[in-house]
């Protein structure tokens, strides 16, 4: 499983980077989302994969057992997921605004607008 997951992480990174290298803005944001997913999975994998033992102390016990999934990366990823939502929505809106102002979603054309007036 770890091997397949590693391959998938690699794939998500590749896809994310490839889309970020495109000139279209919308692809750029999709690439950003995929890259974010890849990063989350990578952190998750680093904590080690444990099946069926969530980091929750059972209702009757005071202490957690010996084997449990690592809660630290989980807390980290949870934060990352929520923050990335904020980031993505901002990015999307920025695209939209840029599209309204510039009239294209081609990044290269946006580059040239600021010098258009001289």
């Amino acid at each position: 499983m770890e091997i397949i997951l590693s391959v998938i992480i690699g794939l998500l990174y590749s896809a994310g980077i490839y889309l970020m290298l495109r000139r279209s803005l919308i692809k750029l944001v999709i690439g950003l989302v995929l890259l974010g997913n890849g990063v989350n999975l990578l952190i998750f994998l680093m904590g080690g994969l444990v099946k069926g033992r969530p980091p929750i102390i059972s209702a009757t016990a005071e202490n957690i057992g010996l084997i449990y999934a690592d809660p630290v990366p989980q807390a980290l990823i949870l934060t990352a997921i929520v923050i990335s939502f904020g980031l993505q929505s901002f990015a999307i809106v920025l695209i939209k605004r840029a599209y309204i102002v510039v009239g294209t979603d081609d990044l290269d054309k946006m580059h040239s607008t600021e010098e258009e007036d001289d």
Partner: protein
């Protein structure tokens, strides 16, 4: 003491707030601050002249060894009195000189900032506070030179001075770091006991190079002198205060302060002597060719600074005495001349030496002040300058090396300085009064009293040299020299070589003044050499630097986002690949790998397919759908591997993201292929290589034993300390509550951003496009 040093900072904060008050005639009240400080420092004279060294300690960053340690010995006191004393006069002068300037409050703010920084610098006993105050003087100087910020020349001059003194500042920090490393302490007074450990240290040369660069840039030594004439663009009180009397002497102070530690070494002495010598002759020669009063004074200041460095380089007690005296002499007469120049400029509107004459008829007190300053500057008895000049000559005569040669250099310099002082202090007042200046009248008393006080002080000290001797000069010298010989400052030494040299200086100087008149021809002649001057060379270097920066920026920062991404990714790829091939030993431990179930395989397959679909789909909608599927698949992965909290969050967020994309999508254009096939293949290859490396990295990391200490702490204390059983949640709301707090703030900001971007009306500019 802390309050005394920091009072200027406090004033600097208050003045802009109380702006209106200090812009009016009440600004004169601010003079009380430096005056009070001056009196405060005067009260230390008895203690310090008894040879006491006063230490004041205030903790600042004790964990890093950075404290406000202030030290008050003779050298510090000499500078402190000069800073506050001249400061008081300049404050008074400014209140009238700049009374119509709308930025007067700002001006006083900068001036106070500078005064505090300078005071802090000369009293710091801690290397790092010294450095901070040193830099603060540069910064306040920058603001003051560029005070007339609508003038291009002023801004340029401010920038040049900032660049040069800033460069010196870097070297100072480096030098301090090395010194602190060798001695293991940041406190200067503790170092003083450490003896000769520097002189035999292999890094000695590096240290002194750093110190020299710092001091020479600050004190305008050749070849870094050119910022000082430029700095004369500042209002005259600034030129008086910073660029002749105090700040430029910071470099001298630094060298003097560290002479007991680093001095008395052949490299130290010879470098100072040569650089100081060149500076004093070169600048003195320049000063006689100029016809702008301020420029004349600027060059003569550089020359005087060269003289001070030169005296330090001589390295014996007699030279140190001469230096200490000359610091006081110079501060007094140069301040007088500058203040007079300011008045002349203010009242007549010109600083051209050829147009000013005969003004004594309308400004008698000023003419007296000027005359007194010239006496001191030229070393004519009974001025304090005469005492100083005698000391300088006897110091050069008693030098162990090349006594004749350096004495000649000193005499030549003094002849030129005498000439330029005549130009500045006598020429405008002598001769016939041109008709255009008939109506010129005396300025307010606040302007003419300060130069007169300075001028008179120069004579009083000359007639009664014992006033300064025991109180300041001797303690100051004893801070520099290991042992101070018995000495007495006096006007009359009897007929000897020194007196002869003084006589030669005065006679030749006056002859020169009678014969030689500055005019444009000399200036034109000098300008021929302009292309070799250090200023032009620095400008050239600057231009090259800019060119390089522009080329470099265009190469890497060309405004194409994907080129940035490409650069970063390529660099990372190379780095990772290098590590992967040199360090990694990919042996995958199969026993640690968990088994697969059919459900998992199915999820993985769906995941892979949707990733490919998201990349290759020609339709936006399909790509977004694929993105949603990827999110749900990851959500399933979280479920499989015991992360219910993550699964829930991922699920909800993914849903919202897809909704968001769909909402915006219909307003955006359809997918268009912007790039050709070749570029797509190139990008594909790069991203695939990067992805592969990440896969390898992931595998590698997984087989490293991880440190679970943090995890164990949270797991064990979750219930015990935080009374929670869901450890992930406990981490979020309790153990790392502060992080979560900040996270929700970030979220709020992003919502604000979205709202602002969409709701705020497009402004005119946007609509036009």
């Amino acid at each position: 003491m802390l309050l005394a040093v920091l009072s200027g900072f406090i004033i600097a904060t208050i003045t802009p707030l109380a702006g209106k008050l200090f812009r009016s005639k009440w600004s004169v009240g601010l003079t009380a601050v430096p005056l009070a400080l001056f009196i405060y420092f005067l009260s230390f004279i008895p203690a310090v002249s008894n040879g006491q060294v006063l230490l004041f300690n205030y903790e600042w960053v004790p964990s890093m060894g950075i404290n406000f340690n202030f030290l008050l010995d003779g050298l510090s006191l000499l500078f402190a009195l000069m800073i506050t004393g001249i400061g008081a006069l300049v404050y008074l002068y400014t209140s009238s000189y700049m009374k119509d300037d709308p930025g007067l409050d700002k001006f006083y703010g900068y001036l106070s900032l500078f005064m505090s920084a300078m005071l802090g610098m000369v009293m710091s006993d801690n290397l790092f506070t010294l450095f901070i105050f040193w830099e603060l003087t540069s910064i306040s100087s920058f603001f003051l030179i560029g005070f007339d910020n609508e003038n291009k020349e002023s801004r340029k001059a401010a920038l040049i001075s900032m660049a040069l003194t800033g460069l010196g500042g870097f070297f100072l920090l480096a030098g301090f770091a090395i010194v602190a490393n060798i001695t293991g302490t940041y406190t200067i007074s503790e170092m003083m006991g450490s003896g000769d450990i520097f002189k035999d240290h292999p890094l000695y040369i590096v240290i002194i190079i750093c110190f020299f660069l710092a001091a020479f840039t600050k004190s305008a030594q050749f070849p870094f002198h050119f910022w000082l004439p430029g700095a004369m663009k500042a209002p005259t009180p600034v030129s008086t205060y910073l660029h002749s009397a105090t700040m430029v002497k910071a470099g001298i102070y630094l060298l003097a302060r560290f002479t007991p530690l680093l001095g008395d070494h052949i490299y130290w002495n010879n470098t100072l002597m040569i650089v100081g010598g060149i500076t004093m002759v070169y600048a003195a020669f320049h000063s006689i060719l100029k016809k702008d009063l301020k420029e004349i004074l600027a060059y003569s200041t550089i020359s005087a600074l060269g003289m001070l460095v030169f005296l330090l380089g001589l390295g014996h007690a007699e030279a140190f005495i001469a230096m200490a005296v000359f610091i006081v002499v110079h501060a007094l007469y140069k301040a007088t001349l500058f203040l007079i120049t300011g008045i002349l400029d203010h009242e007549t509107g010109t600083r051209d030496i050829n147009r000013l004459s005969g003004l004594r008829k309308v400004m008698m007190p000023l003419a007296i002040a000027g005359f007194l300053a010239v006496l001191s500057n030229s070393g004519i008895p009974p001025s304090f300058g005469f005492v100083g000049k005698d000391l300088i000559y006897s110091a050069t005569l008693h030098s162990e090396t090349l006594a004749i040669f350096i004495t000649v250099a000193a005499v030549v310099t003094n002849i030129f300085l005498l000439y330029s002082s005549f130009l500045a202090g006598i020429k405008p007042f002598a001769g016939k009064l041109p008709s255009e200046y008939k109506d010129v009248h005396m300025p307010d008393w606040r302007m003419w009293v300060p130069p007169l006080i300075c001028g008179i002080a120069g004579i009083v000290f000359g007639i009664f040299p014992m006033l300064a001797e025991g109180s300041i000069i001797r303690p100051a010298v004893s801070a520099i020299a290991p042992e101070v010989p018995e000495f007495h400052l006096q006007l009359w030494h009897g007929f000897n070589t020194v007196l002869g040299l003084s006589a030669i200086t005065i006679i030749v100087g006056i002859l020169l003044y009678v014969i030689f008149k500055p005019n444009d021809r000399h200036n034109a002649w000098m300008n021929k050499f302009e292309s070799f001057s250090p200023k032009s060379i620095a400008a050239g270097v600057n231009k090259l630097f800019m060119k390089f920066a522009v080329t470099w920026t265009n190469l890497l920062q060309n405004g194409y986002l994907r080129i940035y991404v490409l650069t970063v990714i390529s660099f990372l790829t190379i780095l990772l690949a290098y590590k992967a091939f040199t360090v990694s030993s990919l042996d995958i431990n199969l026993t640690k790998i968990s088994a697969l179930t059919s459900a998992e395989v199915a999820v993985m397959v769906i995941l892979i397919v949707s990733v490919l679909y998201a990349v290759y789909s020609p339709s936006r909608l399909a790509a977004i759908a694929a993105m949603g599927v990827i999110g749900y698949c990851i959500c399933l992965v979280f479920i499989f591997y015991s992360a219910p909290d993550l699964a829930m969050t991922q699920f909800t967020i993914d849903t919202l993201t897809v909704i968001l994309f769909l909402l915006v999508m219909y307003r955006l254009p359809k997918y268009v292929l912007y790039t050709n096939k070749l570029i797509r293949i190139r990008d594909a290859i790069i991203s695939l290589i990067f992805g592969t490396l990440i896969t390898l990295l992931a595998l590698e990391v997984h087989h490293e034993p991880t440190n679970k200490e943090t995890t164990r702490f949270y797991a064990e204390n979750s219930y015990a300390l935080a009374k929670g059983k869901n450890i992930v949640n406990v981490i979020l709301v309790d153990f790392r509550g502060m992080d979560t707090m900040i996270e929700i703030i970030v979220l709020s900001i992003s919502a604000l951003g979205v709202f602002a971007l969409l709701k705020l009306q497009l402004n005119e500019f946007d609509r036009e496009i």
